[in-house]
Amino acid sequence: MSLDIENLRCIRAGRTVFCELNATVQSGQALILAGPNGAGKSTLIRILAGLLRADEGDAVFSGVSLRNDRIEFQSQLLYTGHLDAVKPSFTVAETLKFWARVYGADFAEVPKAIAALGLERLADHYVRTLSAGQRRRLGLSKLALIDRPLWLLDEPTVSLDADSSGRVAALARERCESGGIVVAATHIDLAIPAARTLDPSSFLPSAEEGVMSDDERVLSGESW
């Protein structure tokens, strides 16, 4: 099982975000997306989730092509974005039960998911009474609820305290240890041993060779 990102090119509003982006992530590995704001981290994650379409290239996860078989590809991934996808008028438990039903997860996992990010005391609280960090934790507790091999996490630890960030990092580590793949845009250290770092903005026609780290695939010579 591996995730192969093949020759991705993305142009948004006339600007090339990245091009000829290649990367391979093996089972048990993590791909950490770094880089300054606007580097294309969220764009790359949304492309991998199939929410955005790449202008060129493909991603293949355990033999399934995103371009040719989007539905099958999407059935293997779990995406969490900037937004928490929670409704103020639902309780914490109701929110997770809804997503459990929609994603075909076992109801028995709901208490475990609530506990995974330390929301036990808030299970019956309405989301509108939660703080930003608590909502974030509720949004992320889907990670412990829905069992998917490929995780796509966009800034998962924003507005989280150190303890909760640690819990998220532990979940990501567990996913890798059980043979999954984690792709995360994050500035904190998830402490995953087999993690590689990639800056999408270094995959530009005008990029200088010097700014690319050894981890990144070198651009093919012709394009620049």
Binding site: R53, S75, L83, D84, V102
Partner: protein, 222 residues
């Protein structure tokens, strides 16, 4: 898949009922706009009786449209739509479930309020059953056609008025046929052909509108 369909529908129902602004507001709007007609036309019972079916249908269109703009927009704004799109339930089915919930909270209550409003407009007694039947058959199409407009504007901050401009012209066939059913019955004619045509629009909407609305949502998420 069918359980997930009902789950999404129940969630939207719960959201509409808990946050208010859904069902109750639609009925209130329907009642107020229907009550305004006698004030505007004046105390002319015969004239009111003649225009009643058409006026009730126009009030129903506006009431239905009022709640459309939040049909997808709220889910797009808080990120729920991303996850619904990635879920195993096809987006078209999610759209259909949301349309059904929308109809249950806006179109269906109008069936109960419509006879009361018909009294205030002195609608002929013979038209009541045809009027309610035409609303029952036609209002689901309003929710589904409306979903297309709501989906097209779901990525916009202030899409409400644009939704109305997009959707209202598409409501014209339903409006004509629905009001004709009421008018025919009031004139002592057979309303069934008009009712069947109204129902035909709704039946055509079931497979077509979710397809179009789902495609529009995918665009809005980019």
């Amino acid at each position: 898949m069918i359980q997930v369909f009902w789950t999404v529908m129940r969630r939207d129902l719960a959201l509409a009922l808990r946050t208010g602004g859904g069902g109750a507001l639609g009925i209130a709007f329907f009642v107020i706009s229907a009550v305004l007609v006698p004030f505007g036309v004046g105390p002319k019972p015969d004239l009111l009786g003649v225009i009643a079916p058409g006026m009730l249908w126009i009030a129903a269109l506006l009431a239905c449209m009022l709640t459309l703009d939040r049909l997808f927009q709220a889910d797009v704004e808080d990120g729920s739509m991303d996850l619904l799109t990635l879920s195993p339930l096809p987006l078209e089915m999610t759209v259909l479930a949301k349309c059904l919930a929308h109809w249950l909270t806006t179109g269906f209550p109008l069936l109960i309020a419509a006879p009361l409003m018909a009294i205030t407009m002195n609608m002929p007694g013979a038209a009541y059953s045809a009027m309610i039947a035409s609303l029952a058959l036609g209002t689901p199409a309003l929710s589904m056609v409306g979903a297309i407009g709501a989906a097209l504007t779901s990525g916009m901050r202030r899409g409400g008025v644009l939704t109305a401009v997009l959707v209202l012209p598409l409501y014209v066939p339903t409006l004509i046929l629905g009001a004709l059913a009421g008018n025919a019955a009031a004139a002592g004619l057979d309303p069934v052909p008009y009712l069947m045509l109204t129902g035909a629009i709704t039946i055509a909407c079931v497979p077509l509108c979710p397809l179009v609305a789902a495609a529009a949502i995918r665009l809005a998420l980019r």
